[in-house]
Amino acid sequence: MSDSKQIVNHVEKLALLEISPEEKDRFSEQIGKILKFVEKLNELDTTKIKPTSHILPVQNVTRRDSPVPSISRENVIKLAPEANNEFYIVPPVIQEFQEA
């Protein structure tokens, strides 16, 4: 299996997606192209550059610990694919056990 095909399979599992075989072929090809481009970036010598996660010289942006009103439950919950008056409803999350 090609590297990009393996990546697609791995991401499918991590992201809990279901991808059809046709889609897999298409995505593999696209991801392959992206990887190739990133490899190109690897040609650049960055040994003397510190890893940068923020480019602005700004730190410690904080806010006061004082409450502000939340939004109404009714308005948010109606955006959920499934909900009752109080809760979001999701497929059952049951942790499976086995005696050992």
């Binding site: 006061r64 502000v68 948010v76 499976e96 005696e99």
Partner: protein, 475 residues
């Protein structure tokens, strides 16, 4: 095969901070609100929102770092930990990965073999996930807890028994309570613990394969789960098997740990720096400010109680177990100078009342000043210790002071010399043999005779005076 095994334990503790608002938004963190009423686009992770760090979270983290001798990282950063689970609306948890707020902390526990230092690998800031409620064929999600600030405190694998694990947790909780940054309420989930445990033949330097135990809702459960798991691992190895690295759940009903079968592949969190939040640079000034507001450390307070109030080590450790009990003691000590008597009463009657009501010292039904008042009445000979023990429950029930109760019930001590002398003479007349024994050198009967006088007075006679007069009359 060498059957002498040694357990190696490391603990991960999550502590919820008691800030008023969530870590990145202004939603309230109050416990017990109606489901999904303390939520907003930020904590629900809607596109385009901007999380902003709660300043109190950084302040609390720095305080905890200082209380446990952590090395505070001057540059620390939030990272995204990516995974999918229904209680995580954004699809990632904002946490800290390679630049946590503090590293290399420590605390010391009192084992039977003396003090032992337990290393703490790291402490980092992160957000809590929502709560799942399992229903019939579906699960319900409450996002109120999503984004509540947490500190995760990860110990070194320095712990060698379930008892040490228990002591470590107790000490950690004590320090957190002193620092007042969390309610540390295990029932409400504000303190949670996972345990990593492996075993190895004694003397072997290399660690064995570890398992991780989750679902530990109390310190007692941690100890029980570890005991079970250590035993289980030993049996597996003795039978020639191997331990598989896995997550196990503790079932408090059976006292056993069970494999948690996971459908997911090995965790692959793809950590990367959180682009929406700026780095945290802890400055000298922030450390100074935090230092200024730090409480006396529990061990220091305990040592001071021994010295300042002349208390035995045991008393000092009981009275300083939590900060509110220690404060209560010191408040009493302002009004009553018999420090050992305060200690005895607090560890006895007082603690019993609190435990019966399951309240902490802050909610003591009797004010410190009033307990001191009661004890002063004993000190001044106005009431006997026995009467005091009858008065105390009355104080608890009615909230009245000892003075008031004594007056209302006419419980004042009889300290009138004439009246006591009459009682003594009466008792001596009825116990001629004991009097003879006393005169023949059997000094022990004195206690019996005094007891008889106290009984005759229904406990109201001033015991000091009875003692004095008795010796005088008998000599």
């Amino acid at each position: 095969m060498n059957t002498d095994f040694e357990p190696v334990i490391g603990l991960e503790v999550h502590v919820q901070l008691n800030t008023k608002t969530k870590i990145f938004c202004g939603c309230s963190t109050k416990f017990g609100l109606l489901p999904n009423t303390s939520i907003c686009p930020v904590c629900l992770g809607y596109p385009g929102v901007l999380p902003v760090m709660n300043e109190e979270v950084v302040r609390s983290a720095v305080k905890v770092c200082l209380m446990m001798d952590f090395m505070i990282n001057t540059y620390s950063r939030m990272d995204r930990k990516n995974y999918f689970y229904p209680d995580l609306p954004k699809g990632y948890q904002i946490s800290q990965f390679d630049n946590p707020i503090g590293v290399k902390g420590k605390l010391s526990i009192d084992t039977d073999e003396g003090k032992k230092e337990i290393g703490i690998t790291r402490i980092h800031i992160e957000e809590d996930a929502g709560k799942l409620i399992h229903g019939d064929g579906v699960s319900y999600v409450d996002f109120n807890r999503t984004g509540v600030p947490l500190l995760e405190i990860v110990s070194e694998p320095d712990i060698r028994s379930s008892k040490e694990a228990y002591l470590y947790l107790k000490k950690l909780k004590q320090i957190l309570e002193y620092t007042k940054i969390s309610d540390c309420n295990m029932e409400e989930g504000s303190l949670r613990c996972d345990a990593n445990v492996s075993i190895r033949p004694k003397g072997q330097a290399q660690f064995g394969t570890k398992t991780e135990i989750k679902n530990l809702n109390s310190f007692k459960f941690v100890q029980k789960a570890l005991d079970y798991e250590i035993e289980r691992q030993m049996n597996v190895l003795k039978e020639g098997g191997t331990i598989s690295q896995e997550t196990r759940l503790f079932d408090s009903g059976t006292g056993k740990t069970k494999t948690m079968r996971s459908k997911e592949e090995a965790h692959d969190y793809h950590y990367f720096p959180e682009p929406d939040l700026l780095p945290i640079m802890v400055s000298e000034g922030m450390i100074k400010e935090a230092t200024f507001s730090l409480p006396e450390k529990p061990d220091d307070k305990c040592a001071r109680f021994e010295k300042q109030y002349g208390l035995p080590a045991y008393d000092a450790s009981v009275l300083t177990a939590d900060p509110s009990t220690a404060d209560y003691y010191e408040e009493c000590a302002k009004f009553c100078s018999n420090y050992k008597m305060i200690s005895n009463w607090m560890m006895g009657e007082w603690l019993r009342e609190l435990n019966e009501r399951s309240v902490s010292a802050v909610d003591s039904p009797v004010l410190a000043k009033d307990l001191a008042g009661l004890l002063n009445m004993i000190e001044n000979g106005k009431i006997s210790g026995k009467i005091a023990k009858e008065i105390f429950p009355e104080m608890v029930k009615t909230g009245k002071t000892a003075e008031q109760i004594v007056q209302e019930k006419g419980l004042t001590v009889i300290s009138d010399t004439g009246a006591i002398e009459t009682m003594i003479k009466e008792v001596l007349g009825k116990n001629e043999k004991s009097v003879q024994d006393y005169k023949n050198g059997k000094k022990g009967v004195l206690g019996f005779l005094i007891g008889q006088v106290m009984k005759a007075s229904k406990g109201k006679a001033d015991p000091k005076k009875v003692n004095e007069l008795m010796e005088k009359i008998l000599s």
